[in-house]
């Protein structure tokens, strides 16, 4: 057999592998509203930049019922290519081959793909559409006892390279912990779901009847559990969102985040900032409108928009430089912080800090929720995560106190003691350990009770108290760097960001802190 014959045989093998699970399986994949793993890769990477590795892989040949069967590429497409000009490694489970189950050789390919990302310091992207472990090849302790390396590696390289796990189909057990440890998890509406145990296992083990969608569909994970970041309409939308997300991140943690040219004027003053906030300090408004008025072209990528909506966490740009915005949302629970919002913000702060993305805090927080329910749920423990994350963060931090800045809410939103590189207040700011009403009732309880007209006395004391929380008092003590016209917020943030670019903070050596989880 000559080399030409060898080359033809090779081409035949490649072509066969590229057919994935065959025409029928591909047709079923399309009928389900999904793209195939190879179509996804085509859309994710820049044209003609994808290099596949492991195309010849097939099953491990140890399961009797797989004898004589072919598993093209062993059910997972792996390789590297360029996303908007920058290298990334990919693992795309192929549902048309044995439901994208994690076979032994498939996982060897995945190990190789992670090795590319982790040793070359480029983003790792998983496109998950998989039934989970391939039980036929995993059963018994001989192989399983040594498995699980993927989660350890994913943990070790967390914060070193960006890790994205897109749910584009099912993800059970093994393939559900990949997103759990990833930085960013979009979920396709209607076709994706994830659970540690799928419906048949749930039925067998705990006797519960439940569909995969009810158990772990996109609505569950983007609105209730908070495991996923974003619900997307379809595969195309999902792949666009992955690119948008990565556009804010460096390829690894020792590179600065990517800057793009910006034609939104740095000195733009938006007059609407004078009217967005209601005159009554007790009334709500939509803080997302404020964010849009400040950032380049009003564009932001909000993470976890459907979960813990009392805080907004969004990636955006100021003069072309990526920033992470953390803003209280008065529209939901009055902007008060609770368990989930503290978790959401703490995680986002850690994400931005890990990759050198400066943080902008927009404060309007009446405080942490109090009461029986939240105390029993451990609000002290959850609130501490946010204190810890904001204290740990050494990226540039900028704080704007727009209105309420009460109690520990002021601290966790990067108050003066948390090393903001600039902290400014709008004239409407109220900075205090407690609000005028609550504070008056505690401090002047006796005086109010003894007064001839307690209601009048209380009202007078509240007004006196209110004068003490004016931002000019804090600015007068030089604890707030300036009181600014809201319209000057964008120019002020951009100048401060430029000033803070050379920030360097050296922390004492330690192995690591004890994160209050």
């Amino acid at each position: 057999m000559g080399m030409k014959d060898h080359a033809d045989e090779l081409a035949r093998r490649r072509a066969k592998a590229r057919q994935m699970g065959g025409d029928d399986a591909v047709a079923r994949q399309h009928a389900a509203g999904k793209l195939t793993a190879r179509e996804r890769i085509d859309r994710l990477f820049d044209k003609d930049t994808f290099t596949e590795i492991g195309i010849h892989a097939t099953h491990a040949g140890i399961a009797p019922d797989l004898a004589g069967r072919d598993t093209p590429a062993d059910g997972v497409i792996t390789g590297f290519g360029k996303v908007d000009g920058r290298l990334a490694s990919v693992i795309a489970y192929d549902f048309t081959v044995m439901a994208g189950s994690m076979g032994r050789n498939a996982e060897t390919k995945c190990n190789r793909a992670r090795e590319i990302a982790y040793t070359k310091r480029v983003p790792m992207i998983w496109l998950i559409d998989s039934a989970g472990a391939r039980i036929q090849e995993a059963i018994g302790s001989r192989w399983f006892a040594g498995s699980g390396v993927l989660f350890r590696e994913e943990s070790v390289f967390s914060g070193v390279v960006p890790q994205v796990a897109a749910m584009m189909g099912p993800g059970a057990a093994g393939t559900a912990y990949i997103p759990a440890l990833a930085d960013f998890v979009p979920m396709v509406k209607g076709t994706s779901n994830m659970a540690l145990g799928g419906p048949p296992l749930v039925k067998a083990v705990v006797g519960e009847d439940i569909t995969a969608e009810e158990l772990g569909g996109s609505k569950i994970h983007t609105e209730i559990s908070g495991v996923a970041d974003l619900e997307v309409d379809d595969d195309e939308h999902c792949l666009r969102v992955i690119k948008e997300y990565l556009s804010y991140f460096p390829s690894h943690n020792q590179e600065p985040p990517p800057v793009i040219a910006c034609d939104d004027p740095v000195d733009r003053r938006d007059d609407e900032l004078l009217t967005m906030m209601p005159d009554s300090p007790r009334r709500a408004y939509d803080v997302k409108k404020v964010i849009r008025a400040l950032v380049d072209h009003g564009r932001m990528l909000e993470l976890k928009p459907g979960w813990a909506k009392n805080i907004v966490t969004a990636l955006a740009r100021l003069d072309g430089h990526p920033v992470g915005v953390v803003a209280n949302q008065p529209m939901v629970l009055g902007g008060a912080l609770d368990l989930d919002s503290a978790d959401k913000a703490a995680r986002f702060i850690m994400l931005c800090d890990a990759f050198g993305i400066p943080l902008v805090f927009l404060q309007d927080v009446p405080g942490f929720m109090v009461g029986r329910k939240v105390e029993r749920a451990g609000i002290i423990r959850h609130g501490a995560k946010m204190l810890y994350a904001v204290s740990e963060a050494t990226v540039p931090k900028l704080t704007v106190v727009m209105r309420k800045a009460y109690g520990a809410g002021y601290f966790v939103m990067c108050g003066r003691a948390y090393e903001p590189d600039l902290i400014v207040a709008w004239p409407t700011a109220e900075i205090s350990v407690m609000g005028p009403e609550g504070g008056t009732n505690i401090v002047y309880r006796k005086e109010i009770a003894a007064a001839a007209n307690p209601d009048e006395e209380r009202a007078r004391r509240v007004e006196d108290f209110r004068k003490l929380i004016s931002p000019y008092i804090a600015a007068g003590a030089a604890l707030i760097d300036d009181v600014i016209d809201p319209r000057d917020t964008r120019p002020t943030l951009i100048r401060a960001l430029e000033m803070a670019r050379t920030k360097r903070v050296d922390r004492p050596w330690r192995k690591h802190g004890v994160m209050p989880v």
Partner: protein, 71 residues
């Protein structure tokens, strides 16, 4: 089909901008609670007619308590 509207935060009923028989749209405030120094509306989850208001101004409600019923 009727639907109970529940308080999503513990607080005191500050205002009741609707009454029995009123038509409301999705997102309209049915009652307004005062909690955490803020006026926090409890909104209609969908369009409908207010069948019953179960609270009075000044009353304390717990998170999860039914404050009104929508038809």
């Amino acid at each position: 089909m009727s639907e109970e509207i529940k308080a999503h935060i513990t607080g005191v009923v500050f205002q009741i901008p609707t009454k029995k028989g009123d038509k409301v749209g999705a997102g309209d405030p049915v009652i307004v609670l005062e909690s955490m120094k803020m006026e926090i509306p409890v909104e209609a989850p969908r369009a409908g007619v207010v069948r019953e208001i179960r609270v009075q101004e000044g009353q304390t409600v717990q998170e999860g308590d039914t404050v009104a019923v929508l038809d």
